[in-house]
């Protein structure tokens, strides 16, 4: 059965009122769902699009609120969030980044979904609009929720002004237009020569992006020296659950997780030693 109806919602609330109905799926930029619709494999009769829902914006008010329908090309221009900018610039090519959206990227299965690790490291929250109202969970909590994510509309991602220093590394088979083998995003708050707060997030090496708690614990409360970086990188690799796929073997993805975390930490600390 092909798609019989495409509804262009004019608000997140309007989309949410339709989202839970049988045979209905929500669509952002369409880079994930349009190929399925074209091939006749989408498995939904009705698609509710967010293209005209007024969710393409960036607002700054102490925090940065990014509408879920903001194209990745827009995210790639946010110079005050360099790690997020780096992740957005790494996705595919120019013409795709003009279509793909921030919100849609958070629904992409591994190895896609390059932005979630950075947003985890930045302690982002998400604004979700459902039939009964809205809620604003931490991204880290939302990503691990069970249940049907198609019943709510992801309207906005809110990024606090980053405390500390940040770093991002992504490794792929080719320099561009190539899915990630592994990626890592980190944020460190350094006080009196020791790490007061650490965030270490990894992507493409598990069903969804995740924070590596053991790596964060290894870093917190001690100087970020070479031994701490090496041990935290290995701890992050141990938290990965990669699979063999045409892009890379599980073994290689796990090794590159450690490399990505080490390089992201070194980048954040300003020591570019490899």
């Amino acid at each position: 059965m092909g798609v019989r109806e495409y509804v262009l919602a004019t608000s997140a609330e309007g989309a949410a009122s339709l989202a839970g109905e049988p045979g209905t799926v929500l669509m952002g930029g369409g880079t994930l769902l349009m190929p399925q619709a074209t091939a006749g494999t989408l498995g939904a009769e009705r698609v509710v699009g967010l293209h005209a829902a007024g969710l393409d914006y960036v607002r700054r008010n102490g925090v940065t609120a990014i509408g879920a329908m903001s194209p990745l090309a827009t995210v790639a221009t946010l110079e005050d969030l360099p790690a997020l900018r780096s992740a957005a610039r790494g996705v595919s090519g120019w013409a795709l980044r003009n279509v793909a959206t921030l919100g849609g990227n958070l629904y992409a299965a591994a190895p896609y979904g390059d932005l979630a690790p950075v947003l985890l490291a930045l302690d982002a929250t998400v604004r979700l609009v459902g039939p009964g109202g809205e809620r604003t969970p931490a991204l880290a909590d939302w990503l691990t929720e069970e249940g049907d994510r198609g019943r709510e509309v992801l309207a906005e991602v809110v990024v606090p002004s980053p405390r500390g220093v940040t770093g991002h590394r992504r490794h792929a088979r080719r320099a561009a237009n190539s899915p990630a083998v592994a990626s890592a995003a980190v944020r460190l708050v350094i006080e009196d020569g020791a790490v007061a707060e650490a965030r270490v997030a990894i992507g493409a090496v598990a069903p969804r992006a995740l924070r590596a708690a053991a790596a964060e614990e290894r870093l917190t409360g001690a100087p970020a020296d070479a031994a701490a970086i090496a041990e935290a990188s290995e701890a992050a690799a141990a938290a990965a659950s990669p699979v063999d796929d045409p892009v890379a073997s599980a073994w290689y993805r796990r090794r590159m997780t450690a490399v990505s975390v080490r390089q992201a930490l070194e980048s954040a600390l300003g020591s570019e030693s490899r």
């Binding site: 109806e5 495409y6 880079t31 074209t38 698609v47 013409a95 279509v99």
Partner: protein, 163 residues
């Protein structure tokens, strides 16, 4: 099934099409509007051969529901030049053998044209970055980068002479 009439500007002229839900801009351009210069390669956003410009921005026509271009402006390769009057990028692709089978060329040329409007003197690295989403199986890419560099200098010379 809900058919929808969609009106937009195509290469400077008003056009209309009757679309099924989620018909792609690519299929409407090729099958209803006769614009077969826009190629249908992978149909999943991976090859760049369907790149057109929407309000000046390069987009992949295979990923854009045609409903989204209602009221907007679309430019395809047919809007750039003609066989008698090639655009500067078309001309240098031709002169420098940046085309072999030609399937990727319309997408490459649309991206290159957009790049040179924003950055009249790009480095080879900037050209390569702009082309990252466009795949060519024939040329090895280098002649394409050469052609875009040559087009950039040709456009700059022409604008310098006019200034």
């Amino acid at each position: 099934m809900t058919m929808r009439a969609v009106s937009f500007e195509l290469n400077g002229e008003p056009v209309a099409a009757l679309a099924r839900p989620l018909d792609t801009l690519q299929s409407v351009l090729r099958q209803q509007l006769g614009m077969t210069g826009t190629k249908a390669g992978c149909r999943q956003g991976g090859c760049g051969s369907c790149t057109v410009r929407m309000d000046g921005e390069p987009v992949l026509a295979c990923l854009v529901p045609v409903e989204h271009v209602e009221g907007h402006s679309v430019t395809t390769i047919e809007g750039l030049g003609s066989a008698d009057a090639l655009s500067p990028v078309q001309a240098t692709f031709f002169e420098r053998f940046a085309i072999q089978c030609g399937f990727c060329s319309p997408g490459m040329i649309m991206v290159a044209t957009a790049l040179l409007e924003r950055n009249p003197d790009p480095s080879r690295a900037e050209i390569t970055e702009a082309l990252a989403g466009n795949v060519c199986r024939c040329t090895g890419i280098a002649p394409i980068v050469d052609a875009i560099e040559a087009a950039a200098s040709r456009i700059r010379e022409k604008e310098g002479a006019e200034a």
